[in-house]
Symmetry: C2
Subunit: 207 residues, 2 copies
Amino acid sequence: MVVVVSFSSDSEPIKRGRPRSEEVERAILKAAAALLEERGFRAFTIGEVALRAKVGKPSIYRRWPSKGTLALDAFLSEYLQLLSPVNTGTLEGDLSASLTAWVQAVEGTPMGRSLVGLIAEAQSDRDLAMSWRERFVTTARSQHRLTIERAIARGEIPSGSDVDVLMDLLYGPAYHRLLNGHLPFSEASVHEVVAVVVAGAKSGDAV
Amino acid sequence: MVVVVSFSSDSEPIKRGRPRSEEVERAILKAAAALLEERGFRAFTIGEVALRAKVGKPSIYRRWPSKGTLALDAFLSEYLQLLSPVNTGTLEGDLSASLTAWVQAVEGTPMGRSLVGLIAEAQSDRDLAMSWRERFVTTARSQHRLTIERAIARGEIPSGSDVDVLMDLLYGPAYHRLLNGHLPFSEASVHEVVAVVVAGAKSGDAV
């Protein structure tokens, strides 16, 4: 953690040696993300995050009421930008890019482990489940919703297409394999899933 | 628990008042299933199962090495038969019936709660994850695989269709909504998902 001490000549009192709040926050999130990746959700504790971030536990509890909410913020700060959609000009190109980015993040980074840990915890922690839906699921879905709405605007698929069902057909198989573990989600699966979803969307079956 | 005491005239010694092994097993599974439904996976303990089944804890540990494996068997004994596929004569009819049965079991019985509890636990318990894949996921999938293989045999969809991808396109969206909780899985969603999967299968996009 880098501690920046400011000396100011104006009237606001500045305490020497105390890092600014946003720096403390960044250090805590960075330590939490690292521990989450190293140990997984179950084994990670607020005490260890405090030690690694070189802050007191109260500095963490002031900002995050529980281990689950801290883990969620650490997860979002690391991974949400990896999943941003791109605009390739066709529905097939956009869905392919989105699903490929998901597979690469889940397999090529520690995101997969953190993702399953948070989804598992959300099944028995109501507050975490609500934050998970609002801050991850809904945020990610509203970005990707645009992809399908652009295809409707271009006339590629019928207006009135059920955007939610199409998104669940795209991501559902990938999450299903990740959480049940029956098969890995390969590049070939990405291609087949996208082909079926695009064909279904164009035919108007999901209206 | 019904205790049946047999009196036999042959040479095998029979201890009065001790229920037969399969009755003990049934009583344990029934108690475990009831507790799993009432409390959910996290709050359920081997001690409580023993109390409710009127057996000692060693009788349970002799048969099931962990809470996870007992919960899995209790789950299978209650629900696996609810998910058996039917033969309607068309791919659309079969997939519709299968997905509708899943939705009804998840929403109309305590199965949904037990299902999410077991999937959540399997994310951090390697032995349970392996048993879950072998005894639930693979068993259920091999039953439903027949549905798609019959459609290939009837010439309804191309031979060489990727049965795994088609099954994940069918069940993935339902599990996705159940575990992420962003939307309920309605009858209308069943209809749209089945329509897209059938159209995709017929077009040969999943080959």
